[in-house]
Amino acid sequence: MKTRKILILKFSALGDVVHTLPVAATIRKSLPDSYIAWMVEERYQDLLLGNPDVDEVIPLRTKVWRKNWNSKSLFEILHTIKTLRRQNFDLVLDLHGLLKSGIIARLSGAPTRIGFHQKNCKEKINALFTNQKAPYMAGGLHVVDMYLKLLQTALGKVEETKLFPLQVPSEIDEKVAHFFNQNPELTYRPVIGINPGAGFESKQWEGVRFAELADRICEELKCSILLTWGPGEKFKAQQISAHMKQKSWMAPPTSILESIALYKRMALLVSCDSGPLHLVAALGIPTVSIFGPTDPVRNGAYGANHKVVYKVLSCSFCWKKTCPLGTKECMQQVTVDEVFQAVKRDYHI
């Protein structure tokens, strides 16, 4: 049997890369002999290393290339394209729907390039670069299911494998275990994580509300609070800690793999619509999330054991990075008590 060479294009962000894992798992199950490559932004490649469903990770450095545009970056781009073309892929799955992913799909030289219907593309011009389109998908589908539906255009209706394999090397796990050993008081009680950051400002909930929520969790549910943060978000976690009456713990700075090892030790995570929310959901850990400008039906935590608190307003799900009204009404209307009740229901003591 001929080996089928398949290229997955999903470069970023953290949550989106996590949501694409079942596509690789489903291809592996349906076509066990296929060669599966995945092009991903360099900063997320660790998520895929050691994944049994991915034979090759092709890193992209678009952020570096954009920042330092010079002859070296041009050389790197040309080298990446050349490497891609040499692979002779049979099939490209463009799960991004962007201009850049479309260009890469076309440059790969693969005879079959499958993408979203033009109306489902984030950048409609993407449809010019793909030669097979998934049927139009109306609202009401989660992105995980949208990605699997796109795969269906290539492989037909196949048995879907909704698995999210996330591997953490033992040395990284031990490093994170060391943090917990150094803070034994943290682990006397179940650990509930609070991750206040989110990709864009409109998705964030107020720090003082997180602080009030964290205090109620400590006092009424007898849990420890671990505040987690990513690049550029440390001050948000510090702000919550400063406003809390009860003791909390600040997570150490972590790489992606270290953050997985950290989240694995939690009983539950409270978060806005952020990468860590989707990472934790993929680990099968319960979550409570606060949504506003993005639609939880499409982009919420995937699977059972997750609760979302959100308000449906006339301007809900605007998908804007900053609130067009300047009021962040959709996030402001979510009260501390509503989120606390969701945590209490989710976390049975």
């Binding site: 049997m1 001929k2 089928r4 398949i6 349906s30 076509l31 066990p32 002999d33 296929s34 049979d90 099939l91 005879p111 079959t112 097979q132 269906q152 255009t153 290539a154 492989l155 037909g156 209706k157 196949v158 048995e159």
Partner: protein, 55 residues
């Protein structure tokens, strides 16, 4: 529209993982060793063993 020939080359029989052929009237993908036909409905081949038709 019919199934794309390039895609047919990528698909395999979910049972034996062998190659498939398009049936004469193009309503399914045939695996000769397994004597099964995987029906094509609305341009989507149903690659599930349980829904395959015996030849």
């Amino acid at each position: 529209m019919g199934i794309d020939k390039e895609l047919l080359d990528i698909l395999v029989c979910p049972k034996c993982k062998g190659d498939l052929e398009l049936s004469e009237n193009e309503d399914g993908l045939v695996c000769k060793p397994c004597s099964l036909k995987y029906p094509i409905k609305g341009d989507i081949p149903i690659m599930l063993i349980d829904e395959a038709l015996p030849l």
